[in-house]
């Protein structure tokens, strides 16, 4: 880092980027100095990732300039950005799952011999990982690694390319609190060595804890840049959202009713045929939300899919209203009143190329009155779809609009409307607020809480710990297909204990250890 420290490492000026008429970035200025952590704060869809994709050469800006150490650069491809010392750790890691860690490390590097010198590469890699505390097995294949390990590989990969500027896109979303602490240590180390770091986040506490400066984006525009020491979280929140918002989730106290769905010793495999859920037991009671915390890829997805009949049950039993389910296929689960809000809206929950009406009957197209004999009564469908659109405030040009043209929030409202319009007894919701803006998030949370108040049994999987703790009546932490513990009072559980459970330490052990400390 022998370059002129006084000139900013990166300076972006007047950056504008449009996608098919949608302005993602408008006239944004941004700069990072060496030895600085500069956070980009904003809601989902505010344009943070787009701006950084431009800086890393993935997108080309419509307008604006980029300077690296006061030298004007034009990035035509990611290669140009890499050569300028810019490295980005994307939210969805850019790793090749079928390849080994060390292969990913050198992918795309030009200055290597044609035949790959594996030993040297691994040696270099290991010296980097011990320097930054990023340990990972070089011969492992990416798909075998946990999300946290994959993130370490991604950071190593950027360091391996001798990046001067590191961009971390929502890095903590997939980590346990302890893993996040370790990440912060690594960030501090890199900062001390003179790297510039861009930290993209929408979590205020992390931004204030980690960064020197914060730039706030809202709807594609830069609202302001402030020194972290000069501001407060409330202040930042207001800049981010535009008006004062309460983050409180209000939950009416309610006594849970009888058990509506029960699972005993359930085992389920993942797509690769490896065990994903192991001998799991759980009970869902009327009028309560059971939250499931855990790092992505620990079996939450597979558990939910098994509960709605989408995934084969390898062993174990499922009961609805004390009656054992003999054949768990989607249709019979739907008929029993189990409703599913999948994480993958466009991929699983909706048919993007079909219109709002056609999508609104996906779950009941075979039931009366939608279905009449072998035909579908489109008049009934029209009425049904318009009532969903009205009740759930779906913003759509018409009922004949293909749903691929709707925004994420409206997609989610449409899906909620379809799944919840008949007051179902059991609801399985996976990441229901993921990627939504504040208003839509609030709407989705209120809707789910409302169903709870009406007596539905709800299973809620989320990666947002604040959301989980606030909404759940009971909270379970899942690790490698098992529950590490279930608590009846989520509010009382410390962040540290949650993190330890997410990392695979059972609740009783944590309690015992705490007692040990106390005595």
């Amino acid at each position: 880092m022998s370059r002129n420290i006084l000139s900013p490492l990166v300076r972006m000026e007047g950056i504008t980027k449009t996608f098919a008429g949608f302005v993602a970035n408008s006239q944004i200025d941004f700069d990072v100095k060496n030895g600085e952590v500069h956070s980009l704060l904003g809601e989902n869809g505010a344009g943070k990732t787009t701006l950084m994709n431009i800086l890393s050469g993935l997108y080309i800006q419509d307008e604006g300039n980029i300077w690296i150490h006061d030298e004007l650069r034009e990035f035509r491809s990611p290669r140009d950005a890499i050569l300028s010392g810019i490295g980005m750790v994307h939210q969805h890691f850019m790793l090749v799952p079928s390849m080994t860690v060390w292969e990913n490390m050198v992918l795309g590097l030009k200055d290597l011999p044609s035949i790959l010198p594996k030993k040297e590469i691994i040696g270099q890699m290991e010296s980097l990982s011990s320097r930054y505390g990023l340990h990972v097995e070089p011969e492992a294949r990416i798909w075998q690694l946990s999300i946290g390990e994959q993130q370490r590989v991604s950071i190593l990969k950027v360091l391996f390319r001798k990046a001067e500027l590191l961009i971390l896109d929502e890095p903590t979303a997939v980590l346990t609190p302890q893993e996040a602490d370790n990440l912060f240590k690594t960030v501090h180390q890199m900062k001390a060595e003179g790297h510039g770091i861009v930290f993209i986040s929408h979590k205020l506490n992390e931004v204030t804890a980690l960064s020197d400066r914060v730039t706030i984006l809202r709807k594609g525009k830069r609202i302001g840049t402030v020194n972290t020491s000069d501001t407060t979280q409330e202040n930042l929140a207001e800049m981010m959202v535009g008006k004062r918002v309460s983050f409180n989730i209000t939950k009416r106290p309610q006594k849970p009713g009888k058990i509506s769905m029960e699972i005993r010793d359930l085992s389920v495999n993942n797509d690769r045929g490896l065990p994903a859920v192991r001998d799991l037991c759980l009970q869902l009671r009327e009028g309560e939300i059971l939250g499931i915390a855990g790092i992505a890829g620990n079996g939450q997805q597979e558990l939910c899919e098994a509960m709605v009949g989408l995934r084969k049950v390898e062993a174990g039993e499922m009961y609805i209203n004390q009656i054992r389910i003999q054949k768990a296929d989607p249709k019979s689960m739907i008929s029993q009143g189990v409703r599913y809000i999948p994480a993958d809206r466009k991929g699983t929950g909706l048919v993007p190329n079909m219109n709002v009406q056609e999508n609104s009957i996906l779950k009941n197209y075979w039931q009366k009155p939608v279905s009449r004999g072998i035909t579908i009564d489109w008049n009934v469908v029209y009425k049904l779809a318009s009532s969903i659109v009205r009740k759930f405030n779906v913003d759509t040009p018409s009922l004949s609009t293909p749903v691929r043209n709707l925004s994420g929030g409206n997609l989610q409202k449409l899906m909620l409307g379809r799944e919840l319009s008949d007051e179902p007894p059991v609801i399985i919701a996976v990441h229901p607020t993921w990627g939504l803006d504040v208003a839509a998030t609030g709407f989705v949370r209120d809707t789910i809480l409302n169903e709870r108040d009406k007596g539905a049994s709800i299973l809620l999987v989320s990666e947002d710990l604040d959301e989980l703790v606030a909404m759940s009546d009971r909270l379970a932490v899942m690790h490698k297909g098992r529950f590490m513990g279930i608590t009846d009072e989520p509010e009382t559980l410390s962040r540290e204990a949650l993190g330890l459970m997410m990392a695979g330490i059972a609740h009783e052990d944590i309690l015992q250890r705490d007692e040990g400390k106390g005595s």
Binding site: F19, S56, G57, L58, Y59, S77, P78, R79, D80, I82, M88, H90, M94, L95, V96, P97, S98, M99, E103, N104, V106, L107, G108, L109, L112, P113, S114, I115, L116, W143, K157, R161, D271, R272, G273, K346
Partner: protein
């Protein structure tokens, strides 16, 4: 033993065109492009090889010409699929139709002509190894080149920088793009090279194997090669095994016909096609869902960098 050697040697010979086609398609598919036009490319390769051989008398020029023609007609598929993002299945079918039609239109005046073609080349020492020698090392040079190609491709895919980039482009184009590998350029390069190699498979049919030109002479070998890529799980070594298996069936069937069997010819002719289905079924059952993870995961999907949800 004495009966076995000529059959196995014939298996290698008749397996070679399929082997070339399979290897070419493996390269193409590894980059994430599905090319179902193999049958058309092979026929164009076979025609070009024959015609150039007849005019120049030099089989090597003929093979080079086939390679070139293979690349040229595959470039249509490449342009449609890589640049225009067209449906790769339909584009491949179109290539098969156009290639089949064009070869038979161009070749209509060549039926019945003969060429000297490519002769045998005994490899000293190697061909004298008992059993193995006459089976593997008593052929024309194109067979030996195919051995080399199999070994080279294994090495290339596993141990080289370019092989790594190729696999990355097929398995995760986004990741490859983010580290500065040009997905478009890589796909064009390997789609075209693959097409050229497929055409050599066709040229082998006319220049080395039959030494004549016949309408539709590849008789579905292009499609068998498409199946073999799956059977081989995208691995060149297994491709060789599969190709020789088919070569063996063909050699066996020809031998039966020559020996004057009572089994009617049309029924014998079905064998390779039934075998293809069987082989595909066996591999699909055995690998189960695993096959999805072995296939290049972007196979058949176009790639645009700035596509946004």
């Amino acid at each position: 033993m004495d009966i076995l050697i000529p059959i196995l040697a014939a298996a290698v010979r008749s397996g070679t065109p399929i082997l070339y086609a399979t290897l070419g398609e493996i390269l193409t598919e590894k980059s994430g492009v599905l090319n179902l036009g193999l049958e058309g490319i092979m026929l164009m390769g076979a025609f070009t090889g024959f015609a150039v051989s007849m005019y120049t008398g030099n089989p090597w020029i003929a093979i080079a010409a086939s390679f070139l023609v293979g690349m040229i007609i595959t470039s249509i598929h490449g342009f449609l699929c890589i640049t225009m993002g067209a449906n790769q299945v339909v584009s491949g079918l179109a290539l098969t139709m156009a290639g089949t039609g064009a070869s038979s239109l161009l070749g209509r005046n060549f039926i019945g002509e003969t060429i000297t073609g490519l002769g045998k080349m005994h490899l000293p020492f190697l061909s004298e190894i008992p059993f193995i020698g006459p089976i593997l090392f008593d052929h024309d040079p194109l067979v030996y080149i195919s051995y080399f190609l199999v070994l080279f491709m294994c090495f290339f895919l596993s141990f080289t920088k370019s092989g790594l980039s190729l696999r990355a482009v097929g398995d995760s184009p986004r990741s490859a793009d983010s580290v500065g590998i040009s997905v478009v350029r890589t796909r064009y390069f390997y789609t075209l090279i693959g097409g050229g190699i497929v055409a050599i498979g066709g040229a082998y049919m006319s220049v080395a194997y039959t030494k004549m030109w016949g309408d539709l002479m590849t008789a579905g070998r292009g499609w068998i090669a498409v199946a073999l890529v799956i059977f081989a799980i995208w691995h060149p070594m297994r491709a060789a095994f599969g190709a020789y298996l088919f070569g063996g069936v063909e050699a066996f069937q020809l031998r039966l016909q020559a020996a004057g069997t009572t089994i009617p010819t049309p029924l014998l002719m079905m064998l390779p096609y039934i075998l293809t289905i069987t082989v595909l079924l066996v591999i699909s059952i055995r690998e189960g869902k695993g096959l999805i993870f072995e296939a290049p995961s972007s196979l058949g999907q176009p790639f645009y960098r700035e596509e946004r949800e």
